[in-house]
């Protein structure tokens, strides 16, 4: 029973990160209909930004998070505006391969700069925990969850309340109508992709606190993001949050009862079941 509670808590804590990972991916997919295979690379860039700032200036990762977000936002904006934009309306395979190629480029640049050895971030509070009953919670992970929730709430507020956010949602519903209504579609597409990259960067910072760093670290998270989006429903903040938390819990129980080596297999089974039984996910809307 205690094990169950611990797994559940671990799952929720991990789920917060997954939610942020999924959020950026979900926005780009839901609004631009692009599966951004470079998402993992952006996560990695965020993580390494936090590492560099930490090791050079001892800047706490939680403080470097907004910087990483901003940096990745502008990077993503540029990538979309000047590269991806040319194939935005192409059939599936083209943007898929393009973002894959970009991912290869970015990961290999990182490999060149930082080399392949594993790095990590150890802050003063890294090892400390709090205990509630029989359950142990690492401080880092708890704060990570809090920040993740702040980010998702912030994104939701942005999308519903701000003018840009509403324009983005209008564009997602009907791009041609939005364009006719005066929405600067190419700019907004770049904004959305930038947000996706920024959120990935933020996720990367959060990840850097609990996981080790390597140039290829981001790639597994693309599948994670995909599964969370499918689980929770595409294109909404709530969907990413629900999907992330649920997936975190599923993974925690999965590694407990099936073993850590088979994590991807667990993810795949979950993914396939959802796709076959309820493709739009828990909170998703039915589409044609």
């Amino acid at each position: 029973m205690e094990l169950f509670a611990q797994d559940l808590v671990n799952g929720i804590l991990a789920g917060g990160i997954f939610a942020v990972v999924a959020l950026g991916f979900s926005l780009v997919w839901g609004i631009m209909n692009i599966i951004n295979l470079a998402h993992g690379a952006y996560i990695m860039m965020g993580a390494y930004t936090s590492y560099v700032l930490f090791s050079t200036w001892h800047l706490d990762p939680f403080l470097s998070l907004p910087l990483a977000f901003g940096l990745l936002y502008f990077f993503g904006y540029g990538v979309q505006r000047f590269v991806i934009n040319y194939v935005v309306r192409a059939p599936l395979l083209t943007p898929f391969l393009l973002t894959f190629g970009l991912s290869l480029l970015i990961v290999n640049v990182a490999l060149f700069i930082f080399h392949g050895d594993t790095k990590g971030i150890t802050t003063q509070y890294s090892g400390s925990n709090i205990s509630i009953g029989t359950v142990t919670i690492a401080w880092t992970k708890l704060w990570t969850l809090v920040v993740a929730l702040i980010i998702t709430t912030g994104m939701q507020a942005f999308l519903t309340a701000s003018r840009t956010g509403r324009a983005i949602r209008a564009m997602a519903l009907d791009i041609d109508a939005a364009q006719l209504a005066g929405v600067r579609v190419s700019h907004l597409y770049a904004v959305v992709y930038g947000l996706g990259a920024g959120l990935a960067g933020a996720a990367g910072v959060l990840i850097s606190l609990s996981y080790s760093l390597q140039p290829s670290m981001g790639d597994p998270f693309v599948i994670t993001a995909f599964v969370c989006c499918v689980l929770g429903g595409l294109g909404t903040v709530q969907g990413a949050l629900v999907g992330g938390l649920l997936y975190g819990v599923l993974e925690a129980f999965g590694s407990q009862y099936v073993g850590t080596g088979l994590q991807d297999a667990v993810a795949l089974v979950v993914l396939l079941l959802v796709l076959i039984i309820r493709p739009r996910g828990i909170l998703g809307k039915a589409t044609a």
Partner: protein, 319 residues
């Protein structure tokens, strides 16, 4: 007719190149033989991908699964039954892969577009993990596959597999089956109304695709001498064939081989001159190919406009 086979001249040239490739072992150079075998292997994988992705329109990002199944079938035949025969390895690999494809295909092929692509990617990753946990298959440390003394046998075997794949592709494009595939690609709903049982034909396409990949894997395992999960399910073997089909011409008969030749040439050049950043350059190559040649070289020759068409097409998909 001949509408689905692609440009006839390109086809003849490619067949000629294929025949030339059969003579590579005569050069008595291990390096050239490895390189040639690599081209033939990737071309076969690309032919396989092209059947499902190019002709039927179902983009799979997990074809390496069947390649891996092929390698492990070959390995298991040696490890557990001490069989070295190449035809046997190919035959068993094909049977296992086709069975896998049919069983997986029926639920998975109901998915479309992005969902299908990622589901196949997930299958590839998951299978790698599962195999790494099966001791009978050597688990994480892999299994040895004893190579035959006549090493060039593997070259000819790979050549035969590649030639067979190209032939099968050609025959499909000249038959009713090819039109079922293409109809599904163009408009699956309309095809159903015209009497095409889409599920049946999608599974057939995937099975053919799987058979080709598995055959290539079976030969590769013997030539390599050793396989383990990362080797059998390598990302390169997954993505390169797709880029090769793209470069050469998606949905044409000659495209995969042309693409394999060009990309292997580029890869080798990069590897020998810039070993550290060759993957980086490869990423750049992918980006450039995708941006400027979204349907590949042979489509250029097929459609009107040639190079001007490329320039015009460049802006076609932008906002």
């Amino acid at each position: 007719m001949g509408g689905l086979s692609g440009n006839a001249t390109a086809l003849r040239v490619t067949v000629a190149i294929l025949i030339l490739l059969a003579f590579v072992p005569l050069l008595h150079s291990g390096y050239d033989e490895n390189l040639g075998r690599s081209v033939l292997m990737f071309a076969t994988l690309s032919f396989g991908w092209n059947i499902l992705g190019g002709y039927t329109g179902y983009v799979s990002f997990g074809n390496v699964v069947f390649f891996g199944i092929g390698t492990y079938t070959s390995a298991a035949l040696w490890q557990h039954w001490h069989q070295q025969s190449i035809p046997l390895a190919i035959g068993c690999a094909v049977v296992v892969a086709v069975a896998f494809a049919i069983v997986l295909g029926i639920p998975i092929l109901r998915l479309r577009g992005h969902y299908f692509a990622i589901a196949t990617l997930g299958i590839a990753l998951a299978t790698e993990e599962i195999v790494a946990n099966i001791d009978w298959l050597g688990a994480g440390s892999g299994q040895a596959v004893r190579p035959l003394e006549a090493f060039s046998s593997y070259y000819f075997a790979m050549w035969a597999v590649c030639a067979a794949s190209m032939l099968v592709t050609y025959l499909i494009t000249r038959s009713k089956l090819g039109y079922a595939f293409v109809a599904i690609r163009e408009n699956e709903e309309a095809a159903a109304v015209l009497g095409v049982d889409a599920t049946r034909y999608k599974v057939i396409a995937w099975a053919i695709s799987a058979a080709m990949a598995a055959a290539a894997g079976a030969v590769f395992a013997g030539a390599n001498g050793f396989i383990d999960p990362p080797t059998a399910f390598a990302t390169d073997d997954n993505v390169f064939p797709i880029v090769m089909a793209l470069l050469g011409g998606v949905g044409t008969v000659a495209g995969p081989l042309i693409g394999a030749l060009i990309l292997t040439a580029i890869n080798e050049t990069l590897w020998s001159h810039f070993p550290q950043i060759h993957t980086l350059f490869f990423g750049a190559v992918i980006v450039l190919v995708v941006l400027f040649l979204p349907r590949g070289l042979l489509w250029l020759m097929n459609t009107r406009g040639g190079w001007r068409g490329v320039v015009a097409a460049f802006g076609a998909y932008r906002l």
